[in-house]
């Protein structure tokens, strides 16, 4: 869903066409996952349908693919509302970790070994990000910081859970 708001934000900055929007999206938001062209045009079509963007004619002499899009007043209002709404705090990764711990205990495998391996994997990733952020442009470093703090939260959960495995195992056996 955030792709449509990202495109709205780019259009608010200046009217643009599909190719340029994809380029900018990939630069700012799409490092690991470039936006497919198909999705750019389907998203733009939806924005036009919902009255959040409008086609303003073509870039001169460059063919049918270079339709110029602009944000509408309705689009600006929708973008403002979205930016002002906090995301539901979803600790999605932690849920997976918890599922693994419980499954390990239920099946009498070693939950401790799993947590140790998970801790090591988390720390290895944190180390990579720590190296990366030191030479990265600030915008990239901020993304790395965000990832680092999330990994840290998981690691705190791992420590706490590791201390409670015996208790958890007892509860699960009842």
């Amino acid at each position: 869903m955030s792709v449509s708001y990202a495109l709205l934000g780019l259009l608010e900055h200046e009217p643009s066409h599909g190719y340029e929007l994809k380029r900018q999206y990939d630069e700012y938001f799409g490092r690991d996952k470039p936006l497919p062209f198909g999705q750019v045009y389907s998203t733009l079509a939806r924005l036009v349908r919902d009255g959040r963007a409008a086609a303003e004619g073509n870039v001169p002499g460059e063919g049918p693919e270079r339709k110029l899009y602009a944000i509408t007043g309705e689009g600006e209002a929708a973008l403002s509302a979205w930016l002002a709404t906090p995301e539901p705090p979803e600790p999605h990764l932690q849920t997976v970790l918890a599922v693994k711990v419980i499954l390990a205990l239920l099946s009498r495998r070693s939950a401790e070994a799993y947590l140790d391996a998970q801790r090591h994997a988390h720390l290895a990733r944190m180390r990579e990000l720590t190296v990366f952020r030191r030479t990265a442009p600030l915008a990239d470093a901020l993304l790395a910081d965000h990832a680092i703090f999330h990994l840290e939260a998981d690691l705190r959960w791992i420590e706490l859970t590791a201390h409670r495995l015996d208790q958890l195992a007892k509860e699960l056996q009842q």
Binding site: S110, A113, Y114, D116, H120
Partner: protein
């Protein structure tokens, strides 16, 4: 299933000679009836940066104190560059500590009566350097650490971050072969702590100093080449205990990762 041992993070950084290798084997240490170390094994190569992690009371500070020759273990061996540290008497250990080791503690622990400059020069003065030479060496640390102009301040007149940078310079000024840092970012805020860690790691790399960092903070540990975990007085070293399958997924029922020798 094809099992391989995962070796992460320290390619080429481990020395193959005894030179600079720091080693604790099967260390045991009790305080009264309370065991702090129960067969802890640790090893670092010259120039390596190792984080020693673990919860409070796990024995990680005791391990550091034994490696640094501050404490003598009840059993086990501590070797530095091929020498048995645990068999030296207090005077010899103290001399070795002054010559080869540097220390950075939580909250800086500067000598409050001394200026920043005197604090940094202290290890050199204790090692018998003449004052002008010691102070000249100490002053070289002020600019790179962003401490210019603070030479005459006492610890009460420095911020937390400034104190910790002075402590860092004091730990490194004698260009020791090993620096032991116990929770070096202490209670500093994120940004200041990060700055201190960057300076500490960069200085250690520049001097080729081994850095052993005791911390319970993952973000501090992430500056190291690798981490070991202390739990119930034993050390588990994930680097060579994690068996993984072909897909790199850790295999369960890994043997108990406690205190195995290398």
């Amino acid at each position: 299933m094809n099992l391989t041992l995962t070796v992460a993070g320290s390619e080429g950084s481990r020395s193959s000679t005894a030179e600079g290798i720091h080693e604790g084997r099967d260390l045991q240490k009790s305080f009264g009836q309370t065991p702090a170390l129960r067969g802890a094994t640790f090893r670092s190569g010259q120039g390596e940066i190792v984080a020693v992690m673990g919860p409070s009371g796990s024995g990680k500070s005791t391990l550091l104190h034994c490696l640094a020759g501050i404490l003598v273990p009840d059993a086990g061996e501590v070797r530095f560059a091929g020498r048995r540290l645990d068999q030296l008497n207090e005077a010899r250990r103290s001399e070795l500590r002054r010559r080869e080791f540097g220390f950075v503690f939580q909250f800086g622990q500067l000598v409050p009566e001394l200026t920043a400059e005197e604090n940094i020069a202290l290890p050199l003065l204790l090692a018998g350097w003449r004052r002008p030479r010691a102070f000249s060496a100490a002053r070289r640390w002020f600019a790179p650490l962003g401490l210019d102009g603070l030479e005459g301040r006492r610890s009460g007149e420095l911020s937390g971050g400034q104190s910790q940078r002075v402590a860092l310079a004091r730990g490194l000024v004698a260009e020791p072969r090993v620096v032991f840092a116990d929770e070096p970012t202490g209670s500093l805020d994120s940004l200041t702590g990060e700055h201190v860690m960057e300076l500490l790691v960069d200085s250690a790399r520049r001097l080729g100093t081994t850095l052993v960092i005791v911390t319970h903070e993952p973000r501090v540990a992430a500056y190291a080449d690798r981490e070991v975990l202390v739990r119930d007085g034993r050390v588990s070293d994930p680097e060579f205990l994690w068996a993984t399958d072909d897909a790199g997924t850790p295999v369960r029922d890994v043997p108990q990762a406690h205190g195995l020798p290398r």
